[in-house]
């Protein structure tokens, strides 16, 4: 075919090889740099054009060369022509599809991308932006490679190469690069308006992620893998930061783009350390697939920070770091999940299976609609063949991106987080003796060491009973240490007893003023806080009052039971009988009081404390990070505090129990000193009233809902109520 006009392109055997392209360009006195489509047309269509015959081959080469140059030079793109119209159509016979517009958007997009790639200094970028830039460059390189490859084919002249073919070949690239350029424009718009690097980086990742997600639906086979690759590359700095943080406890964040910041206001010794050591840099929402994992990252970060403060390296503790970096594992897993998915699909569509399936369908699927649906599904799946781009095996388009990303990231990230959290827990349990400290407090403050604390209490109660001076703090501390020395000598250095009398220093100290301090060492104080020691002491004081009532009643000897004051009765025989009866009644009142107080003590020690201990032990055993340990312990302390009626909601029951304890104190005094009959009657009435009140209250549903397991105490008091017996 020969060109008959200037603008005609003649199909003929090409005589120019690829190596001739620069020569050709020089011939046209255009520098290689300035060679563009516009230049091409200017030379061919303008007034300086020479009436050369343009072959399609020639034009093809020129286009390829232009595209090749566009990949590296942001100025090699279409600019306004002299006429201001760059949409001139090459009126070429037989090539109606060939117009400048066909390549213009591609070249324009490339120009925009190249403008960014070539005009932004690396130091202006955050690490995420740098990675994104590299990824973008990679895409451009791939496009260039594709162009070069095609050009090589053209140069070999083994087959007919036409502009139409090129158009067809570049169609997907055109679409991709246009989309990438559009995405890039969105990123740049935000980037220019925001100074905060964290927000910028997060925005970049969000835009890329959103674009990939959209591409999965709109252009699954071509654009989606490219955007995925950009996304993964852009995520790499973030992943590396996380990786390094969880491994070595260091946040390497030169551009302040990492979303988490060390709170310097919180010292490691601070009880708030765990909850406040790291703060969010901004409130910028994360990209969706990272959101559920941020808690894990933060947990791991806190753990490794504490390990660092403890001068321990997490990986050393665990005997080795996980193989590969986080990003490598992530990419590997992503590819594997995708491959597995395909493999499953392949198995399903393998010839044998297919035959079987088809046969089955033919034989078994008699419903025509169902058969058609199967057919459609098979056809659809067979179209969606996997394509590998840079190691990314793309899953089927109907497999959502979000869960795939989450699955790929979750396990390696959580492995790292678990490893470091476990290392911290092991250190706390083994080196810092966390469980031992909790156990010590249980034994002392919750009187789990019943025999040892029983001795301490007994000494205290005896002094209180005899009116001996008891409230010397040093003596109390010594007494406590002496009592516990046989089995708990090692915790003596943590303990001291103080008397907190509040504002009224003049009034004599009481049991409610006793406080056993436990100097909790760091970092155990992150779990056993000062507040929890306060709650423990509150429970301890209540327990001591109950034990005092119980001990004093238990230690009443029948030999010591004094004669009752029956002086108002005239006859000696009557006096004797009356005295005997009164003694009997006092013995019985003692039995009732002992029953009541023992029941309360049983309830607290077994149903509340022992059950709670068992639950806490299980929770500590199953805890996977320190946060859970802190929460479990906090919940445990609050729960026992509530169940021991130390909160306002249980005040009325506590008061009733205190009344009974006060009756028991009067009985103890009466046991030794005697009492008037009238007083005995009053004590009995008082006891009866309080027993009935507590039994009635505990029998209600509201008490059951407020106090777990209280039904056992309720049953004991209701079943044995003085009025009914």
């Amino acid at each position: 075919m020969h060109a008959t006009e200037n603008h005609e392109i003649v199909h003929q055997k090409p005589y120019v090889t690829a190596s001739n392209i620069p020569t050709l360009a020089k011939k046209k006195q255009c520098s290689i740099k300035n060679l563009s489509l516009n230049g091409l047309f200017k030379n061919t269509c303008g007034r300086y054009s020479t009436p050369n015959i343009w072959t399609e081959y020639y034009a093809l080469h020129e286009i390829l060369w232009t595209l090749h140059q566009s990949c590296w030079n942001e100025k090699a793109s279409v600019k306004s022509t002299e006429s201001g119209n760059h949409t001139k159509v090459l009126r070429v016979a037989g090539l109606p599809s060939f117009s400048v517009n066909c390549f213009h958007p591609l070249v324009k997009s490339l120009e925009e991308i190249n403008y960014y790639l070539n005009n932004t200094a690396p130091q202006e970028h955050t690490l995420t932006y740098q990675a994104y830039t590299v990824a973008l460059r990679g895409v451009v390189t791939q496009f260039n490679q594709s162009v070069t490859d095609y050009e090589k084919g053209v140069a070999r002249q083994r087959a007919t190469s036409t502009i139409s073919q090129l158009l067809l070949r570049l169609r997907s690239w055109t679409f991709n690069i246009k989309a990438i350029a559009a995405m890039h424009t969105t990123i740049m718009q935000m980037s220019s308006s925001v100074a905060d690097n964290n927000t910028r980086s997060t925005h970049l990742l969000s835009v890329v992620y959103d674009s990939a997600q959209k591409a999965q639906i709109t252009n699954y086979s071509t654009l989606y893998p490219v955007l995925l690759e950009i996304l993964f590359a852009s995520l790499e700095p973030f992943f590396n930061m996380v990786d390094l943080w969880l491994d070595q406890g260091v946040i390497v964040d030169p551009y302040q783009e990492f979303g988490i910041l060390r709170n310097e206001a919180v010292s490691p010794q601070d009880e708030r350390f765990w909850s406040e050591v790291f703060v969010s840099r901004t409130t910028q929402p994360l990209i969706s697939f990272l959101k559920p994992l941020m808690d894990d990252i933060l947990l791991g970060g806190r753990s490794v920070e504490l390990l660092t403060q403890l001068k321990r390296k997490s990986m050393r503790v665990n005997g080795g770091c996980p193989s590969g970096t986080l990003i490598e594992t992530f990419r590997h897993r992503f590819s594997r999940f995708a491959s597995n998915h395909f493999e499953c699909e392949k198995v399903f569509h393998s010839p044998i299976v297919t035959v079987t399936t088809e046969k089955d369908h033919k034989q078994e699927v008699r419903n025509p609609l169902l058969a058609k649906t199967f057919e459609t599904l098979r056809n659809h799946s067979s179209r969606s063949q996997p394509s590998k781009v840079e190691g990314v095996c793309v899953p089927l388009e109907f497999y959502p991106l979000l869960p795939l990303l989450e699955r790929s990231l979750m396990e390696p990230l959580r492995n790292r987080q678990r490893m470091v959290c476990r290392a911290l827990l092991d250190t706390l349990y083994e080196d810092c003796c966390l469980k031992l400290h909790i156990l010590n407090i249980r034994r002392i403050h919750l009187m789990q060491a019943g025999d040892l604390m029983g001795r301490f209490c007994l000494q205290l109660f005896q002094k209180l009973e005899t009116g001996e001076k008891w409230d010397n703090e040093s003596s109390l501390t010594l007494s406590l240490l002496n009592c516990i020395s046989s089995r708990m000598g090692q915790c003596g250095s943590y303990l001291s007893v103080t008397i907190k009398r509040g504002n009224v220093q003049q009034t004599p100290a009481n049991l409610v003023d006793v406080q056993i301090n436990y100097k909790v060492p760091w970092p155990v104080n992150l779990v056993i806080t000062n507040d929890s020691i306060f709650l423990y002491n509150s429970v301890l004081r209540f327990l001591m009052q109950i034990k005092q009532g119980m001990f004093s009643l238990q230690h009443l000897s029948f030999k010591d039971l004094n004669c009752m004051d029956v002086a108002n009765v005239n006859y000696p025989r009557q006096q004797e009988l009356l005295s005997a009866t009164c003694r009997h009644r006092l013995q019985l009142l003692r039995a009732w009081l002992l029953y009541f107080i023992s029941s309360v003590d049983n309830y607290i020690m077994e149903c509340v404390l022992e059950s709670s201990h068992i639950r806490l032990d299980m929770q500590l055993e199953n805890a996977v990070h320190l946060g859970q340990v802190i929460d479990s312990h906090q919940e445990y302390v609050t729960s026992i505090h509530k169940q021991c009626l130390q909160q306002p909601s249980g005040a009325f029951l506590r008061d009733a129990i205190n009344e009974v304890l006060s009756i028991s104190r009067e009985v103890v005094i009466a046991w030794k000193n005697g009492l008037e009959l009238e007083k005995l009657n009053k004590l009995e009435e008082n006891y009866l009233r309080h027993h009935q009140f507590v039994a009635a209250v505990l029998g209600t549903d509201s008490a059951h809902s407020m106090l777990p397991h209280v039904e056992t105490l309720a049953a004991a008091l209701i079943h044995s109520c003085p009025a009914t017996r």
Partner: protein
């Protein structure tokens, strides 16, 4: 600072059951027959110092005083592998070695004569204890030494150590068989008086019931003393388990005993234990839940006191303490208690609290048992009075005929008169009456049987 317990073993029976008890304790605490801690005993969750103290070479010595008026049983002990276990200074054998001749009076007189020597030992032991809580006396009430010397010791100890708890493990004679000791009813009654007046808590070990249990439950045709004593030692070790394996509750004897004994004289406790196993016979392993154990403990056939069947159904529990050993969830205990209350498996006194106490205790890690949970019941039951009533009947039969009193009249106490016997009878009759009264709701006014008694007051709690 533990609460220590000194064990006094009196007479043949007392020393035999004491010997079995120490064997059991040694096994449970991982202590060898020579008092040395075994290599495997490393758990350290127990409190050995309640019943043992450590010598300078750190071997464990029982806080035990062995007293007898004749040498046979103590010699057997001293020829056993456990000879080196005891402190030789704590073993007292009467120099003449003739024993008390199954005569309470002789035993009592010996006590008076040997007071200084015996109390030298006891005082030394008591002073060597940091915080002595109780004396435990092991003896029989039917013989001469355990009953007579035992009675004397009870009187003196309660005088000398009024603040210390005195608990006894008292073996009552087998009333189903004719005894060689013809004066057994005298001995028993005289001892019972001291147990009533001078002891704080008496754990009744009834030979009749022990033999029945050995025959019926353990399928031993002719139970030997060793087998019966092994049963007794099981009871003794289980009843002290909470003291030896400290926990959050029930770590002292007074805490266990006080709720069981609402009034001073009603302090005779019967025991029950389940599941019982025989070392010589393979027994089928049953499933032992807390409820199973607690229910079985309430069955009369498991009680180690043989009481006369109650035709009127008036007898009832005053209080119960179940010591449950094994790995038990506390909530199971309360569910079981709830079930027992709902089903009314135990009938309680009408005038006081229906007190079922449950104490949880660990098992020894060094003694393997085929059962997950085991239980001991210490119960204050009014039907125990039938045992005393039978003793009274037997006493009355002899006393009416003034039979076999010559030997007693030789002793200082009975030279002038036999008033002591009659007084003892009154005390025991009074005790039986009080137990009977305790079955009724007007127990509170017991003793007020004269006009004008209404001045006693409102009696709100009755």
């Amino acid at each position: 600072m533990p609460s220590e317990v000194i064990t006094l073993q009196l007479g043949q029976c007392g020393n035999q059951i004491g010997f079995e008890f120490w064997k059991k304790l040694c096994a449970e605490h991982g202590i060898s027959s020579e008092g040395v801690l075994e290599d495997f005993a490393t758990e350290g969750v127990d409190r050995k110092d309640v019943f043992f103290y450590q010598a300078d070479d750190e071997h464990y010595i029982p806080r035990a005083v062995l007293l007898d008026l004749e040498p046979r049983v103590i010699n057997t002990i001293m020829n056993s592998p456990y000879a080196k276990l005891y402190n030789p200074e704590n073993i007292y054998l009467s120099k003449h070695g003739g024993g008390a001749g199954n005569n309470w009076g002789s035993g009592y007189s010996h006590g008076e004569r040997l007071f200084d020597e015996i109390f030298d030992i006891i005082d030394r032991e008591a002073e060597g204890s940091e915080n002595l809580e109780a004396f435990t006396v092991c003896h029989s009430i039917a013989g001469g030494t355990g009953s007579g010397l035992g009675s004397y010791m009870l009187e003196r100890i309660s005088e000398r150590y009024p603040k210390k708890l005195v608990q006894t493990y008292s073996v009552f004679p087998n009333l189903a068989e004719s005894s060689d000791v013809v004066v057994q009813p005298y001995n028993s009654l005289l001892t019972l008086k001291r147990l009533t007046l001078n002891a704080d808590c008496v754990v009744v070990l009834d030979n009749t019931a022990l033999n029945r249990i050995a025959t019926d439950r353990l399928h031993i045709e002719t139970p030997s003393f060793t087998q019966i004593n092994s049963l007794v030692s099981t009871i003794m070790s289980a009843s002290t388990a909470t003291l030896r394996y400290p926990s959050y509750m029930n770590n002292d004897l007074i805490g266990l005993v006080a709720p069981l004994i609402p009034t001073p004289r009603l302090h005779f406790l019967m025991t029950g234990y389940t599941p019982l196993t025989n070392d010589h016979e393979e027994t089928s392993v049953r499933k032992t839940t807390v409820l199973d154990v607690m229910r079985r403990l309430l069955q009369p056939q498991n009680m180690m006191v043989s009481t006369t069947p109650d035709r009127n159904g008036s007898h009832c529990y005053t209080s119960i303490l179940n010591i449950i050993q094994g790995e038990v969830d506390p909530t199971q205990i309360h569910k079981s208690l709830q079930r027992i209350r709902e089903r009314k498996l135990a009938q309680f006194i009408p005038w006081g609290p229906a007190s079922i106490q449950v104490a949880l205790s660990r098992k020894s890690p060094y003694v393997t048992t085929s059962h997950r949970v085991s239980g001991l019941m210490l119960a204050n039951h009014t039907s125990i009075s039938t045992l005393f009533a039978r003793t009274l009947q037997q006493f009355d039969k002899l006393r009416k005929r003034e039979a076999f009193l010559d030997q007693f009249r030789k002793e200082a106490m009975f030279q002038d008169s036999l008033d002591e016997m009659d007084d003892s009878r009154d005390v025991i009759q009074n005790l039986v009456d009080e137990y009977t009264a305790a079955t009724k709701s007007d127990y509170l006014s017991w003793g007020m049987n004269r006009p004008g008694s209404s001045a006693a007051g409102a009696q709100t709690l009755a």
